[in-house]
């Protein structure tokens, strides 16, 4: 079984993406069940890999039996299985939420079974692309998966009609530019070293260290992936994309898309290219840009009056924090970055499912639309509150622990960059306090309408969110809490792998 899992993990979503529209066209009613089953199976595969990687060490899988450096290899260590688990898990929730339908905008095309099937297929394709990025050990293959996932994402973003098509087009522009830059970089690398396999690449890099083209390659790769990871100031595509994507897709895209790119950055810059001078400089720059992003994202989130747009800017802040961790590269920092990926993915997914649903049902995105929700739907709102508190970094939610690791890493790193990162993370927490509590206050303690003192309890209690959104919201909130409480085992799972991984690569370097 262990031998089959890696293949299943990548193949299942890709096959499923083709299968589900077919099922939708033929059987109609079973689309939902089929998609959910597929997602569950993918998740099970990810979980299996996660356990076996934890129990028996990293797994190397040669696609089609062709071993590296010529064949395409998949590589599952603690790091990649963790991200895979995250992607697959979020995809389950997103698939569940897809029942809600994309039609929040009146200009969106009417939902038909086939259309639903196609969208579900797109989600599966997206998942497949992302899992491919996570798993692959081949830099060109990575580009392929990057493009697969991007194309699927454009589809999902545009499915809302109206403004979302514009947003999708803009995303497409940025994404294509990013992909092209990355591809150029890979081209340079191949020209220099003659290999695309990461391990092979790492081994051969020292011999071409002196070549100026290497610097160009590193920068191209870094810039390309940074656009995808929304590193400030290359984040321009993000706010509109997150805001105008239909809710079920937004919950998924906002949660994992940028993070997988950040993971790729970590793999390439932090592991494969870490030994190069250019890589080190780029990582240092990345810390500073991360600091700027953390602050700018926070400030601009405070300035927003629309909840989803505020969440989008908060994501830019969070991505800055993750990239700070990637840039620092110490074991603590990597732990913090990974933990923040997980914490932020769970919490932001929860919030986008919730905020999107409320925006659709309350017919507006302003903070005032949240007024009075506390008395009508206390449990849903409690879940959203947990997620918001995690974003602020209040213990014992997951966000607290990721911030804790990142702060520790900043102090341990020391120097101007360390101090700046420390201050920026604290500041972003403060800003997050401001913009999240504004919403929570309205939701829990204010009453809707112009008379704030009116009796809010007269409105009948009932669910605000339909079940397809409420279940992911509550489930993710629970996960946020659990991740926080079981932070320590998590760290134990990831760190040794990372350390041995980097140690292995530096040992292979002559």
């Amino acid at each position: 079984m262990r031998e089959l899992l890696p293949g299943l993990l990548v193949a299942l979503p890709l096959v499923g993406a083709a299968l589900v529209p077919l099922v939708a066209a033929l059987f109609r009613r079973t689309t939902r069940v089929a998609a959910l089953t597929l997602h569950a199976a993918i998740f099970a595969a990810a979980l299996g890999l996660f356990w076996s990687a934890a129990a028996a060490g990293p797994i190397r899988y040669a696609v089609g039996g062709w071993p590296g450096p010529w064949g395409i290899e998949l590589w599952f260590d603690g790091l990649s299985t963790l991200i895979a688990l995250l992607v697959a898990g979020m995809a389950c929730f997103a698939s569940f939420a897809q029942t809600f339908g994309p039609d929040r905008d009146r200009t969106a095309p009417a939902s038909t079974p086939l259309r639903e099937g196609l969208l579900r297929g797109a989600l599966l394709l997206l998942v497949g692309g992302l899992l491919g990025i996570v798993a692959t050990r081949d830099v060109f293959n990575l580009f392929v998966f990057l493009e697969i996932s991007s194309l699927a994402a454009y589809t999902l973003v545009a499915s809302g009609g109206g403004r979302s098509t514009v947003a999708a087009f803009r995303y497409l522009l940025a994404g294509t530019a990013a992909g092209s830059l990355y591809l150029f970089g890979v081209g340079f690398l191949y020209a220099l070293t003659g290999t695309l396999n990461m391990d092979d690449l790492a081994a051969r890099l020292p011999s071409v260290e002196a070549d100026a083209a290497l610097t160009v390659a590193v920068v191209l790769i870094a810039v390309g992936l940074s656009i995808k990871a929304a590193l400030f100031p290359l984040h321009g595509w993000l706010p509109d994309t997150y805001v105008y994507t239909p809710t079920p897709a937004a919950g998924f895209i906002a949660a994992v898309m940028a993070k997988v790119s950040a993971y790729a950055l970590l793999r390439l810059l932090g592991e494969v290219l870490a030994g190069t001078t250019a890589g080190a400089v780029v990582l240092e720059i990345m810390i500073w840009l991360g600091v700027a992003g953390v602050v700018a994202g926070g400030v601009l989130a405070v300035a927003q009056r629309a909840v989803t747009r505020m969440l989008a800017w908060s994501s830019i802040s969070a991505m800055g924090m993750i990239l700070i961790g990637v840039g620092m590269g110490s074991a603590l920092a990597i732990t913090g970055a990974l933990f923040h990926m997980a914490a932020h993915a769970l919490a932001k997914g929860c919030l986008f499912f919730g905020a999107g649903g409320i925006r659709a049902l309350e017919d507006g995105d302003g903070v005032d639309r949240w007024a009075g929700l506390g008395s009508r739907a206390p449990w849903t709102l409690a879940a959203l509150t947990v997620a918001a508190l995690s974003m602020i970094g209040i213990p014992p939610t997951a966000g607290f622990f990721s911030k804790y690791y990142l702060l520790s890493a900043s102090i341990a790193a020391g120097g101007p960059a360390g101090i700046a990162a420390f201050a920026a993370i604290i500041l972003s927490s403060l800003l997050a306090t401001v913009y999240f509590l504004r919403v929570l206050e309205a939701a829990w303690f204010r009453t809707p309408g112009d008379a704030p003192e009116a009796d809010s309890e007269r409105r009948p209690p009932g669910p605000v969110l339909p079940r397809p959104l409420a279940v992911p919201v509550v489930g993710l909130a629970v996960l946020v809490l659990l991740t926080g409480i079981f932070a320590r085992p998590f760290e134990r799972h990831v760190l040794p792998d990372w350390e041995s991984g980097t140690a292995r690569i530096s040992a292979e370097a002559p």
Binding site: P395, K403, T433
Partner: protein, 502 residues
């Protein structure tokens, strides 16, 4: 001091937390809902009392360490200072709960279920603050405390009240984030950041770094302790229902802040390091300034609860002052003041709440004649007021007296002057309340004592205060706990701090 690994500390912290959900679920049945509160209070008190004998014997119950962060487990440890605070908060929680029942019912307030749930969570968090064995555990409980009390503060939910709630959160959460930074920093310098009598930071970093760290930590805990100029939220938070204010002042938020300052000065930095870094005197001066400013401010305040709030600002800086001086007697006095102020201030707030429940009056100048109409309430108020002023035979005197002697051990004569001036100001702003209420003729003959739910708690607290004043070692032996906490710190203090005792 030997450690006994047991689950009792977890029980004490978890009791309140465990009933939050049951309370929320039994919102339709008030009797059951409130029963949960009392059950949790009793369990917490029982757990606290069961850990006392060990403390008397010089041992401490320690919970198993829950791995949480590298080198920093979630752990609770019932040392004397923590037990003192825990026992106090469980006793006063029970009193406040019964008072809350009467208060909410007699005023017919809404959102009672959320109220009781948040109350339980807040007390659990306070218990966690009390028993936290290291900085991270402390921080976690501290943040939970902030959030759990927010719904209580904005209970009325008018826009003005929400504004006050925002101000409350602004102060406490910003401080919380600074505290987070400082805790991380301290944890990096000394892995574990375990509270150690006499401090653990000595020699861990350069003097400059330690000073910065101290300021960060102080802002973190000091804003909850309402040290000037971080006190602005406290009077604003007076918009809360009275039992909440009582809890805020006597047990949970402000007291937790003051407790935090004691932990900071005695168990994180330690008196000798504070002296070496030149931090004792500035902190003492800050406390002194707070004491005087807040007292003067209280003198000019006519709103009943706000005057009490400024009194709290002033009184809690006694604790900060004791922590700053750091001699054994001063620390013991400061630790005992946690208890003394707890019983006295809760009495005062209960009385203010009873007046509001019975008459709807909120201003001191409107109290004429109420002393005769509500004799028990105002008798209790008298005890509280005099105790606050440090009148002997009441517990406030014992803390003040030991603070004075402790300051003299360190040759800080000005502290004595400060204490007596503060006592004077206390009388100057408390006794007019009694004068107006008891001795001025009233106009409303229909006023009566409110229900027994509202009369019994203040009378109980006042009687407890009298007992403590006559014998501070009565019952839970608060004085013994305060003294042994101070002694444990002093055991590490340099000689010049322990000399000079008669």
């Amino acid at each position: 001091m030997t450690d006994i690994v047991s689950l009792r500390p977890l029980l004490a912290v978890g009791a309140g937390l465990a009933v939050v959900l049951p309370i929320l679920l039994s919102g339709r049945r008030p009797a059951l809902r409130e029963a949960w509160t009392f059950v949790a209070g009793a369990v917490q008190l029982g757990a606290a009392l069961s850990m006392l004998p060990a403390a008397f014997a010089g041992a401490a119950h320690v919970s198993p360490a829950l791995p949480l962060l590298p080198g920093m487990p979630l752990q609770f440890r019932a040392d004397p200072l923590g037990l003192l605070f825990l026992t106090l908060s469980s006793v006063l929680w029970l009193a406040t709960s019964s008072y809350s029942v009467g208060y909410l019912r007699s005023l017919g307030l809404k959102h009672q279920t959320g109220y009781f749930a948040a109350f339980a969570a807040a007390v659990a968090a306070a218990a966690g603050v009390a028993l936290a064995a290291n900085l991270v555990t402390f921080l976690i409980c501290y943040e939970v405390l902030t959030l759990a009390t927010w719904p209580l503060v904005v209970h009325k939910r008018t826009s003005g009240v929400l504004g006050s709630g925002r101000s409350y959160l602004a102060y406490t959460l910003i401080a919380g984030q600074l505290l987070l930074g400082a805790v991380v920093w301290a944890g990096t310098l000394v892995p574990g950041a375990q509270f150690t009598p006499g401090g653990f930071l000595a020699g861990a970093a350069s003097d400059g770094v330690l000073r910065v760290l101290f300021v960060l930590l102080l802002v973190g805990v000091g804003s909850k302790a309402a040290v000037f100029p971080l006190h602005g939220w406290l009077p604003a938070a007076m918009v809360a229902p009275t039992p909440v204010s009582a809890l805020l002042h006597a047990v949970a938020v402000v007291k937790a802040g003051a407790f935090g300052v004691l932990r900071l000065t005695g168990w994180v930095f330690g008196p000798d390091l504070m002296h070496d870094l030149g931090l004792s005197l500035p902190l003492a001066a800050l406390a002194a300034g707070t004491i005087l400013m807040a007292s003067l401010r209280a003198l000019g305040e006519d709103h009943f609860k706000r005057r009490l709030a400024y009194s709290t600002v002033s009184q809690l800086s006694y604790i900060v002052l004791g922590g700053a001086i750091g001699t054994p007697l001063a620390l013991a006095g400061a630790a005992f003041h946690i208890v003394a102020h707890g019983f006295l201030k809760i009495t005062l707030f209960f009385c203010a709440g009873s007046v509001y429940a019975a008459t709807g009056r909120e201003h001191i100048s409107q109290l004429s004649g109420l002393g005769r109409a509500m004799p028990f309430t105002f008798a209790a108020f008298g005890v509280g007021a005099l105790g606050m002023a440090g009148i002997p035979m009441l517990p406030g005197f014992i803390s003040k007296w030991n603070l004075a002697l402790g300051a003299l051990d360190d040759h800080q004569v000005w502290v004595v002057a400060l204490l007596v001036v503060s006592g004077l100001l206390n009388l100057a702003y408390y006794l007019p309340i009694l004068r107006i209420a008891v001795f001025e003729p009233g106009d409303d003959r229909r006023v009566r004592e409110p229900s027994a739910w509202l009369v019994a708690p203040p009378v109980f607290a006042a009687l407890a205060a009298i007992v403590l004043g006559l014998n501070p070692d009565a019952g839970a032996r608060f004085w013994f706990l305060a003294e042994s906490a101070a002694q444990s710190v002093a055991a590490h203090a340099p000689e010049f701090l322990t000399g000079g005792l008669p």
